[in-house]
Assembly symmetry: C2
Homo-oligomer: 144 residues x 2
DNA sequence: ATGGGTGCAAAGGATTTGCAACATT
DNA sequence: AATGTTGCAAATCCTTTGCACCCAT
């Protein structure tokens, strides 16, 4: 149980650093993101936490994850045409999407674009860069 | 009218090069993509062409654009969390998404990743790379 | 008691599916 | 005739919205 308290401390710290007021739900969702690197969807976060927080609603998960991404406390990933997913790791790295199974994988060794401060291109203010690769993952190649 | 015939010839040629059997609908949709660089959504393609092809259905536009992207005749862009859009220009270039108005803009001068042949990373077959920038466009900054 | 946070139910919207009609070879 | 293409209607699924309740300050 002390493990859990520590995790939640880290989550709370992260929220405060990003200017987000911690609530029970927000801390648990951030804790989930900080301990699961599976690029979860709203549904996955919801169904993983709804037992722990009995009253949790999907709406709150939607609101919270959106809030996180607006405060750069998490990354919103739109690589999957069907649904959005989130990443607790906000350091620049490449995401790979498997068109067969929908899985999202981190490519840590590929060079990812690094966001410079105050970038403006042709008058447009840029504040996020993401590099997406798409293809067929190792598992899906094996089974087909 | 001869202009139109020329356009459609180019569209037909492109379809054949990509191994897609040309039909009236497919040629018109490809022609639309090859003459409009606005990153249209399914709805935009549909409502632009439904007067010209009276019987056109949204289903066909969905099917056709998906087919195009599978055959690399067009690019499916998932930068907008709410809807997919398409680009007839398949040369590597960066896409910018305005979070305010949802517009997608090409950044032709930014260096974009170029897809090498037969790329495999950690066993995963990569066959597409896209670099997305997000922020607030020049117009939306002006009005806020 | 005030303001933000939460959650339910309903609405909205994009996309897919099943199937019948149609066109083309 | 056979095969692939189209299009309608319905279904599905993700996400947002409106509103009421609740909690903490």
């Amino acid at each position: 149980m002390s493990r859990n308290i520590n995790h939640n401390d880290a989550a709370t710290k992260r929220l405060l650093e990003c200017g987000i007021k911690p609530s029970v739900q927000r801390v648990e969702i951030m804790n989930y993101l900080m301990t699961h690197f599976t690029h979860p969807t709203v549904e996955e976060v919801y169904s993983s936490l709804c037992h722990k927080i009995q009253t949790l609603s999907r709406t709150t998960v939607y609101n919270t994850l959106r809030l996180f991404s607006e405060h750069k406390a998490a990354l919103m990933i739109t690589i999957d045409e069907h649904r959005v997913c989130y990443d607790g790791d906000t350091h620049p790295h490449v995401h790979f999407y498997c068109k067969e199974c929908g899985k999202v994988i981190d490519f840590m060794n590929e060079s990812a674009p690094v966001m410079p401060a105050n970038l403006e291109i042709e008058g447009n203010r840029v504040d996020e860069m993401q590099l997406y690769y798409k293809g067929v993952c190792a598992d899906c190649q094996r089974f087909n």
